[in-house]
């Protein structure tokens, strides 16, 4: 079956009682794809599932038509730089990359050539003969990148590859990603910050709490998030009057009087405008007891991803 997608079909993974990812459906085409989400949202879990380091509790994963249960085929086309900041004991950077290539079955001279080339690519040649244990954080990050690209994989999976890199290396690394993508390969990387990756990504996948919140080309995701309607509960003594006043002010989609009598339920797309309107209500003399966002998650994510970088 010729298939150049990475597919997740209703994949769930629980660590005991803890949710890793939940019912993820994804089709990832070649190109640069960024997984973006806050800490603990499930980025690493998705990547580990792709590489077969962990297995889904339910659902199936396939990478260009290959199941992660067949590492002998999958790893020929997949290179993965994990976020685990550990290397085998006592190896030098060069030996580390070389041993990976030997495991791929390259004959020794060929492996040495490739290892040298990969280390050159990440600009570590001068440190190649030193023990990894003595590397700085950024150097360790780069040597792991070198090991992931050394066998020239068609699918490159990188967990937080830009962390701890200086601007020069960062630019070079991004150029490398672009080069890979231009050759019709997959480059999948993860990040906490949308701004960091949105310039060069063809596609972003936003994850929160183990679920895919939004996916697609960067522009559409931005809009999707931006226009994702938010729900608020406005606690006040006269909800009916507040509703009437609010509709004159701001782009409210819906306002309902809470049947429980707590106040007014408001759904809006324009947070800033809505916030200003509420302020004006107070100025107008309406007694407001409080304002609570009801769907914390998307709101928090919004703040986190987009609001934070303003």
């Amino acid at each position: 079956m010729s298939d150049d997608l990475i597919r997740f079909d209703r994949v769930s993974k629980f660590y005991g009682d803890v949710l890793g990812v939940n019912k993820v459906d994804l089709r990832i085409p070649p190109g640069i794809t960024s997984l973006v989400g806050p800490n603990g949202s499930g980025k690493t879990t998705l990547m580990n599932l792709m590489a077969g380091l962990i297995h889904p509790g339910s659902g199936t994963v396939s990478v260009r038509g290959i199941s992660p249960f067949a590492p002998e085929q999958l790893m020929r086309i997949l290179g993965y730089a994990t976020q685990y900041d550990a290397a085998p004991r006592g190896l030098t950077g060069f030996d580390f990359v070389l041993s990976g290539l030997l495991l791929h079955g390259f004959p020794r001279p060929d492996a040495v050539r490739r290892a040298t080339h990969a280390i050159e690519t990440v600009a570590l040649t001068s440190a190649a003969r030193r023990k990894i244990a003595a590397y700085s954080k950024g150097m360790r990050q780069r040597i792991r990148l070198a090991q992931a690209i050394a066998h020239d994989p068609a699918v490159l999976v990188l967990d937080e590859p830009l962390n701890g890199l200086d601007p020069v290396v960062r630019a070079e690394t991004i150029a490398l990603f672009r080069d890979y993508a231009a050759r019709g390969r997959h480059v999948i990387l993860s990040s906490h910050v949308l701004q960091e990756v949105d310039v060069f990504s063809d596609q972003v996948i936003l994850i929160a709490n183990g679920m895919v919140v939004a996916e697609g080309a960067i522009r559409s995701v931005r809009e999707e998030i931006h226009e994702h309607p938010s729900q608020y509960l406005l606690r006040c003594a006269e909800p009916a009057r507040a509703a009437a006043l609010l509709f004159t002010h701001a782009g409210i989609l819906e306002a309902r009087i809470d049947p429980g009598g707590a106040g007014l339920l408001v759904i809006t797309r324009q947070r800033e405008a809505f916030a200003l309107a509420v302020q004006r209500l107070a100025v107008d003399g309406l007694a407001i007891d409080g304002l609570e966002p009801l769907d914390e998650n998307v709101d928090a994510l919004y703040e986190y991803l987009i609001g934070g970088g303003k």
């Binding site: 660590y15 580990n48 590489a51 077969g52 380091l53 962990i54 297995h55 249960f69 067949a70 590492p71 002998e72 085929q73 999958l74 790893m75 020929r76 997949l78 290179g79 993965y80 994990t82 685990y84 550990a86 290397a87 085998p88 004991r89 006592g90 041993s99 990976g100 030997l102 495991l103 791929h104 079955g105 090991q147």
Partner: protein
Amino acid sequence: MNQIWIIARLEIRRAFFSRRALWVYLLALFPAALFLGRAASVHYDRREYAAKPATPAAILDRLPAGTTDKDALAAAGPPIRDRQWRRGEVEHRSLHYFDGYNRVWLQFENGALKTTRRLPLHSFEQDTRIYAGVFQYFYLRLAIFFGCLGIFLNLFRGEMIDKSLHYWFLAPVRRETLVLGKYCAGLIAAAVIFGGGALLSFAALLSYQTSADLETYLQTDALAHGLWYLLAAVLGCAGYGSVFLAAGLVLRNPIIPALVMLLWESINGFLPELLQKLSVLHYLQSLCPVPAPLDPSAPPLARMILSPAAPASAWTALPGLLAVTALVLYLATRAARRLEINYGGE
């Protein structure tokens, strides 16, 4: 096949030269050091006693129990050493003689001869039996057991603790191949270290025998015995290794199965025939060329732990052991297929 070898080559270096392997060498070489020490002391004794007066064995043997120390002194002449001490109500005295071949201690309690202890200055026959004991009780039960525990647990569980196991999983090799490759590496390391240790002790043992004893032994059994010991050591590593490898793959805390196995191997001699066949030790002991003596003065618990299983013939022991090993390895590969990277613990 080729891949297994590549994996083993990469792994062997770690098994042999890491600092953690140091204590494994210590375990393996300890008896060799003892036998070398023994060689030195026999050498020294021979020179020492060559200069000592020899009392004819006939005189010493003729002293019946109950003889007074004065009579004994009168009959046998001045001793090499005379030691007296008190313990509770009893006055002890020990007279030390040499009859040209044996060292003899006459032990008196309250002035009456109680026992005559006789130790040959050195006896080839006794030494080979002691070697058999050292091999079975120390090497097979303790050194190889705990050594393999360390080496083979390190292969998977150790890398899990080090957070470096995923590098192996990211290589294009089947998990089965990975397990076998690592197993081979562990086996080669363990076999070289412990087989070498056992052979070295064996050589040290032979180094201080008198030339006549040595010549007959070398012409008859020496080669065969050495080979059997080597084989038993290597198979011991193979058997225990497979079990610990599997335990390290399946369980978070492999100490518990190790403990269970230690107890299992200990009480195995008391179990019904069928269950005995499931013990690694059972087969190994059947391979040893010289049966080991049981120390009668050992405390009861130790005796229970040391009681040997009824031997199987070498030709059932070999395939039996290999079959157990293969079965356990098969289960280990099955477990490896489902193994996940989880660096959460510890």
